[in-house]
């Protein structure tokens, strides 16, 4: 009996020594649009099979604004329940102090990613998140309807509004009562900042807060384009667009009730998915530009990354998980399923992706020229600055004050927020 116990003890000890990496349970938190969560689960299933670890997803609302508040709270409380956070491209400076420095652990893989994206996630020389996909919006349009009315793809916002009205009026007269010309993201949240930045900057109105920190938004070009956008609401865009985020606009678009939509590339795969009424009937183009001096098409840079919490109890396993999800093979898998833009340079020349998601190689130049939101200049005050901007735009779109007045107020508020410096 004694001998048996000794053997047992030896056996247990051997097991403890023999398996240095004990299986651990990890948690990843993500709020994603479309099929994002489903595809993440599929990727995690592969990871679980490869590593023997278990990973649970904590699902959040799709609004980045909602996610951020919760993440900040968890991180401030030193929450160890969440190991990996899916973070927006703009959050790095605000959360950096509570995230693990990935520089050393990822130096074998970062070279495959676009340097500009890696740069955007580097704060004070510390890589705080590894990118898993990037984003640059597209103008989705209905090929069939544009052909029917012999209209060409609009290159300016004015053309967009004219074509939208032409097609919408024609279709409504033909009995399609629910059709609208244009849907975008008009709710008062981060998405409106992206939309409005595109309107303003593509019309030569500056980028709200310039890279040097100066506040440029109060100018006649910006006011003119916001007044123009105000004119869309209730005419070519449904009045409810003031409460639309990505998924609400896609809801109108994908049921065939919109001629144009501004949205991220994820809507491409979903629109062409089985059961979609608009499958094969649409295409994408770069967003329109304004007219006049300094006008050029602008796309706001988006994108999502994975960061490891400083408070995770399994940091090494979490870093391995992040590297797995961000790996070329998994990014390719994700892109084939969701048409998210990969952050690995080589995947833009991949034949499978080019055949199944043709938007991806076409979007390489657009995302490379995409404009970041002023999160680098405003640093830790970005959320508040963005909130003041989207509130001024939302008020203008709602008809609460003219664009000129709202932008003058906005300038004063941003100046106060800036104080002695961002």
């Amino acid at each position: 009996m004694k001998l048996f116990h000794a053997f047992l003890a030896l056996g247990v000890a051997a097991m403890l020594v023999g398996t240095p990496a004990q299986a651990v349970e990890l948690s990843i938190v993500s709020g994603d649009t479309g099929d994002g969560i489903k595809v993440l689960r599929e990727i995690l299933d592969r990871y679980e099979k490869d590593s023997g670890n278990k990973v649970g997803i904590v699902v959040m609302p799709t609004s980045g604004t909602d996610q951020f508040g919760q993440y900040r709270l968890w991180l401030a409380a030193g929450n160890s329940d969440i190991d990996v956070y899916q973070t927006d491209v703009i959050w790095a400076p605000q959360l950096a102090s509570q995230l693990v420095d990935l520089t050393a652990a990822t130096k074998d893989v970062v070279g495959a990613h676009f340097p500009s994206i890696i740069q955007s996630q580097t704060v004070n020389g510390k890589l705080v998140a590894l990118p898993i996909f990037t984003d640059a919006p597209a103008l989705y349009y209905r090929k069939d309807l544009l052909d029917k009315y012999r209209a060409k793809v609009p290159a300016t916002w004015k053309e967009l509004a004219d074509t939208a009205k032409l097609v919408m009026d024609g279709e409504r007269a033909a009995g399609n009562r629910d059709i609208w010309g244009f849907v975008f993201q008009g709710n008062a949240y981060e998405g409106l900042t992206c939309n409005a930045l595109e309107w303003v900057m593509s019309s030569g109105g500056g980028q709200v807060i310039e890279p040097d920190g100066s506040i440029s938004i109060n100018n006649p070009k910006a006011a003119a384009v916001l007044d123009m956008a105000r004119g869309w609401v209730g005419t070519i865009a449904p009045p409810g667009v003031l409460a639309y985020q990505e998924e609400e606009s896609r809801g109108v678009w994908q049921t065939g009730n919109a001629v144009f939509m501004r949205n991220w590339p994820y809507a491409y795969a979903l629109g062409n998915g089985g059961g979609s009424p608009i499958k094969g009937k649409f295409d994408v183009a770069p967003l329109p530009a304004g007219t006049g001096e300094g006008a050029r098409p602008i796309a706001t840079l988006g994108g999502w990354n994975l960061a490891v919490s400083k408070y995770s109890k399994h940091q090494d396993a979490a870093i391995e998980l992040v590297k797995f999800i961000a790996s070329p093979a998994m990014q390719k898998y994700r892109t084939l399923k969701t048409s998210n833009l990969p952050t690995i340079q080589a995947l833009y020349d991949d034949a499978d992706i080019a055949r199944q998601q043709p938007i991806v190689p076409r979007w390489k130049q657009i995302f490379l020229n995409a404009v970041p939101r002023p999160s680098a200049a405003t640093r830790i005050k970005y959320n508040e600055a963005s909130s003041q901007f989207w509130n001024a735009v939302h008020n203008t779109l709602s008809g609460d004050g003219t664009a000129a007045n709202n932008l003058a107020d906005l300038e004063a508020m941003l100046t106060k927020l800036k104080g002695r410096g961002w």
């Binding site: 008062a188 409460a243 709602s398």
Partner: protein, 320 residues
């Protein structure tokens, strides 16, 4: 007859009192401890943070700033004087106004409707038990779930409410209920009234069932009509219960967060005090400012409750 000497009597009395006081503290102790830990400590921390410049990025680096988050005065080099702080923040006062307006309208409607429902349910009719249970359903659904449900029903494109109104010919176009600044608050009010009228009805019904039937019958024998009975007999008798129900609802309504947060765009037209506080606490890098807003929210609630109890001469200890 035994007469105790006064000092002796006092001594016996005071030792008995002391013993009672001791056991009272013994019994109250655990409850007070839990209350202090669960309510007192967080409240004290919030008040404390509101006097600092705390940031969620690094809570330990905070410094004392006195009343700076509430009110401060800057003299610019140009000689201009600037006022800053919560007390001069128009967004905050707009939130206070939104919340107050919401609370007054919703509680008023809920009280009147709840009273009507309670009076109906107090009458005897077949199937009363089932109706009483059924009317509680909106109250039983978690607020987030009902907010999401209403969000779908109020949706401007696919929502059933627009379809019904359109087919009945009451509206000529689909209305974006929650997006439009003019209708967003009305939409929130409708959902809130739908949800909490059952609560009011339940409390008032409980009070109605406590009423002795004889009083009503006597009034009827004396020739009072139902209207007079309600105003002169029933209402005065259930008034204390109604007043307590109203204060419960008013406190809830002044803290409104979930319905507004889920249903409407996050703009100044519908932002409530709680939404304002949350935004500053967690989204912006203004934890201290958000704490100040939470502190003011608490003060407003406390003062209103005290004023209401004083003015309404309500006794919360069960007496009348």
């Amino acid at each position: 007859m035994i007469r105790m000497e006064p000092e002796k009597a006092r001594a016996a009395h005071s030792s008995l009192t002391a013993q009672r006081v001791r056991s009272a503290w013994l019994f109250l102790g655990p409850m007070l401890l839990v209350l202090a830990a669960a309510a007192g400590w967080p409240l004290a921390r919030t008040v404390y943070f509101s006097f600092t410049d705390a940031s969620l990025a690094d809570l330990d680096a905070r410094q004392w700033v006195g009343f700076g988050n509430y009110f401060s005065v800057f003299s610019m080099p140009s000689g201009r004087v600037l006022y800053d702080g919560l007390l001069v923040d128009p967004v905050w006062w707009r939130a206070v106004w939104n919340t107050a307006r919401f609370a007054v309208i919703s509680v008023t409607c809920e009280t009147i409707l709840g009273m009507i429902v309670a009076l109906v349910l107090n009458a005897k009719f077949p199937g009363r038990g089932i109706v009483r249970a059924a009317i509680l359903i909106p109250w039983a659904i978690p607020t987030i779930v009902s907010a999401k449900m209403w969000q779908w029903m109020l949706n401007d494109q696919f929502g059933i409410i627009n379809v019904v109104l359109l087919n009945l010919g009451l509206t000529s176009a689909k209305i974006a209920w929650t997006a439009n600044a003019d209708t967003a608050m009305a939409a929130i009010l409708v959902v809130d009234i739908w949800k909490t009228t059952p609560f009011m009805a339940l409390l008032i019904l409980a009070a109605l069932q406590m009423l002795p039937r004889e009083i009503i019958e006597v009034a009827r024998l004396d020739g009072a009509n139902p209207w007079q009975i309600f105003w002169r007999v029933t209402l005065p008798l259930i008034r204390p219960a109604v007043m307590v129900a109203v204060i419960f609802r008013a406190l809830d309504a002044l803290r409104i967060f979930d319905l507004i947060y889920v249903l409407t765009p996050n703009n100044v037209h519908t932002k409530s005090m709680s939404v304002f506080a949350r935004e500053n606490l967690f989204e912006f890098d203004k934890f201290a400012y958000g704490s100040a807003a939470s502190t003011l929210l608490f003060l407003i609630l406390a003062l209103l409750t005290i004023a209401y109890i004083r003015i309404g001469r309500i006794s919360l200890d069960g007496g009348r």
